[in-house]
Amino acid sequence: MAQIFHRSTNTISRVSIYGAVILIAILGYAVNVVNQTSYVTEVHNARPQPVPFSHKHHVGELGLDCRYCHSSVEDSSSAGMPATQTCMVCHSQIWTSAAILEPVRASYRDSTPIAWTRVNALPDFVYFNHSIHVAKGVGCTTCHGPVAEMNITWREQSLYMRWCLECHNSPEKYLRPKSEVFNAFYKPPADQEALGNRLMSEYKVRKLTDCTTCHR
């Protein structure tokens, strides 16, 4: 009797069977890759801001200290965003008529706050505390990257839990002397391991991996 299928069907079926298996594997891998891309993590995406504030200019060129604007970073969980007032301390003197600063002046004039776009965001169930990290010798740039080179600020790290745990499991790889914490140009020494271990004992740094360290 007549064959209902063309002989090619055999090949097709074989290919499709093995193909399916491979395809599933690839898909799984793809998901993993996509999760690392900046599309999901926002890493290195410079976010548009109401005022094109340049850390490069203020920190890199003028050498402002981080704490001048992010004033509560040493006493509070939140590093703090500068009040318009803080901007106006200088900009009531210099660049007083610059067009790009109009939103700042407007804000100060009509007492309407500036709505900045958040660059480094954590989910609400994560309780991060700046002050303790700073106090234990974790530098700003360790997480926030080369701020002094950012014209428009971007996120340097994925802020995934996996990333947090890298440091919480082995702080010695990242610690720096307290004196260098706010140094935006700090380069880790060659013997970071040795330094890190010394600082860990000096600053009594523990490897905190309890869930409630961050989740409550």
Partner: protein, 462 residues
Amino acid sequence: MADSPSDRLAEQMANVPILGPGYNYASVTDKISAIVLARRTPKWWIFGFLISFALVMLLMVSVTYLLVAGVGIWGIQIPIAWGFAIINFVWWIGIGHAGTLISAILLLLRQQWRTSINRFAEAMTLFAVSCAGIFPLIHMGRPWLGYWLFPYPDTMKMWPNFRSPLVWDAFAVSTYATVSLLFWFIGLIPDLATLRDRARNRAAKMIYGLLAMGWRGSAVHWERHETASLLLAGLATPLVLSVHTIVSFDFAFAIVPGWHATIFPPYFVAGAIYAGFAMVLTLSIPIRKLFRLEDFITMRHLDNMGKVLLATGLIVGYGYMMEAFSAFYSGNQYERFMILNRMTGPYAPMYWMLIACNIVTPQFLWFRKVRAKVGALFAIAMVVNVGMWLERFVIVVTSLHRDFLPSSWGIYYPTRWDIFTFVGTIGLFLFLVFLFIRYLPLISIFEMRTLVASEEEKKAAN
């Protein structure tokens, strides 16, 4: 002595063949494949199909509402945080076991009488497992995160808790589903080929053809087929024991009085096979009647299944007795209270119904007369199905509702959504069964052929 009626009955029973007289290869093939191909769809089929389909819709509605509103729509609460969902899960997964037992273990034991029932027993396994599989997922507070139970490299650097029985469950059940599916499908291939060749319209040819995966019945094919079936049988055999053992761990690992018992694994497995055979009987009796397959599924089959039912029933009964005994023997006030509470507490009716269904009723199967009566067998099988569900209800609910601190005791009532979901899965089960018996050969054609062969050899021998 040989003239006492019961002995005569015994003789007759022994002589009842596992295949009706006067069949040859062709007639067997015709009779079975005709069900699928030639015959017009019978009225009863359409009727039953529609009912089961309606129930599937009910399941859909219940599950959707569940996802929208949350598990609060069920009767569960603190302290009874597990209710119908887990009861039904254990019940369904148990039912599945008979299929695997018949197709795997009896195959390895070369039990010929399994031939005509293993196909739909396997199918039943598959369908039961798919019903069971729904519950662990939907009983979760956040089902959409169910995949966290499986280990995979995630952005959180987290792994599941390998100490938790629920994780073992996830593996056990998924393995079980996969193996059963493969086993069943491989068994189907030669018959699918037969259907392909016998089908008249092109669509049918195409479909069966695709499913037959180019089976040509060459010696090589048969040789590989045999090997594959044997291998899978070997794989499936330990599963029959392991799966329900692990399910029983869900309870045995907890410290709840009434759950924390070492006897659970064996008596869960026995219970599973018990429930399974009950379900096989419940299905095969109507089917053989409706499709007039009395010659293929003979009284001999029913008799054997009755015996298995009796045997496993006795094991289960032993389990209950040991539970009560160890509770009293333990001298532990919580254990003692637990068993007393089962017998006299607010859920005592459930407990005694369970005893009646699972221990008392099957005793009738001691009598050949009973085993020889189709109706009686069917009734007993039904009762056992109910009983096994009650067993899980008693284990889950009565153990939880009064545990250690009297201050946190409670009472559990199912809601309409509990019931809808349960009935819904029964619908899904029947729905699949109906599709199966209509569109696939519900008895293994090629294996029946081998039976014909062996029968002829017997004749030749005489």
